[in-house]
Symmetry: C2
Subunit: 215 residues, 2 copies
Amino acid sequence: MPKRVDHAQRRAHIADALVRVAARDGLHAVTMRAVAAEAGMSLNLVQYYFDTKAQLMHAALQHLEQQSHERWSARLESLEDPGSARACLEAFVDEALPVDADSHTFRLVWTSYAVLAMTDAELAEQPFVEGPNRLERQLTHILATAQAAGEIAAYLDVSAEAARLLSLSHGVGTSVLVGQRSAAQARYVMLYHLSRLFNDPTPPEAPGQHLAAAS
Amino acid sequence: MPKRVDHAQRRAHIADALVRVAARDGLHAVTMRAVAAEAGMSLNLVQYYFDTKAQLMHAALQHLEQQSHERWSARLESLEDPGSARACLEAFVDEALPVDADSHTFRLVWTSYAVLAMTDAELAEQPFVEGPNRLERQLTHILATAQAAGEIAAYLDVSAEAARLLSLSHGVGTSVLVGQRSAAQARYVMLYHLSRLFNDPTPPEAPGQHLAAAS
DNA sequence: GCTTTTATAGTACAGCGGTACTATGAAAAC
DNA sequence: GTTTTCATAGTACCGCTGTACTATAAAAGC
């Protein structure tokens, strides 16, 4: 037989190709043939590593989720002061918003899958319920610690605050993806949100224009 | 010829059928034949009223947008005190969240189209940029009035607040659509947001459980 | 009353997508 | 050295989808 190859690596390569196709042309344009072409291999090879398209789609989603988790962990660990809630949350903002091309790709494809999951029950469970829940608990923990330290007001509902952070970042990220807002404008909205959370007297410096695209 | 029919009404009927199919099976499951079956007519009749599938898709989107606009206007006009910013914003919350079946359908299909628009430039412009911008300006106006009346703090950035409201409602609505949160939990998050905006001392009464689905 | 228009149905066709089947050379196994 | 296994390619098939073409009965028009 030819060189024995690393199946996991091949699968990752194919999953990456799928993500690129989905980011460029939309998840509906993801076909076995398109993925094969993007990955630079024959159609049958894709079939060789993923028996069925459903398996491929599922694997790419898991691939995305794992990448996202790793990026978030890495960013958290690269913080100078991991104890600072403000720093953590600003890191969260930078991680959650489609600021660079990679992040844009990730958010777009992730959202596409989320829409699929809305009408496909079996696709949804793990990634779109348990994943966000885990993140939300993590944020809640950060906020509770900050609250105990007096960094945020005692009367705040930390779990509601976590839900707000997560949902707001998702919503404002989507507005970037559809072209309603620039990434800078989205970032401003998130930083403004943090300034309200921490009860800052002065809001962050504003971006150039309005918060929405020109009318 | 047979009874002359109202073309606009027929088109609306077909567009409604498309929306039902999209809400039930996903936008990717929308085919000419599926829409025809859902509308109770032959495939060719759908083609008769919409030359091409792209036209049908576009028309259904416009149909959705107009319905949404009408519902929002109607809700605003049915307010007892249209001058109360708080009442307006609570109406916005109830309108924007997928609380009933109709609203659920609308949000789901709308979000599906939004994802399409992320990779299809010509689909996007009008509905997903100009529409939200208009709403955001409307919210900004409401907030500015409330600010002038002293109902919300003077140091708030009303246009950032409008962006937060819109984005948060979208994000939290999406979390309902993917099954992460119940509509009641989403409503609580939004009402909590309003309580923070108006600087309420007491938060709204909490829903039964956690803010996220059980782990 | 004849002709034209209109709303409707049926059917056909070409393309694409997922999947299955067969082939093949090369490395591993023994 | 022979046999088996593995990574790869090519190709064929069936179903579905958008679209086009033809047919037809019934109401308008005049």
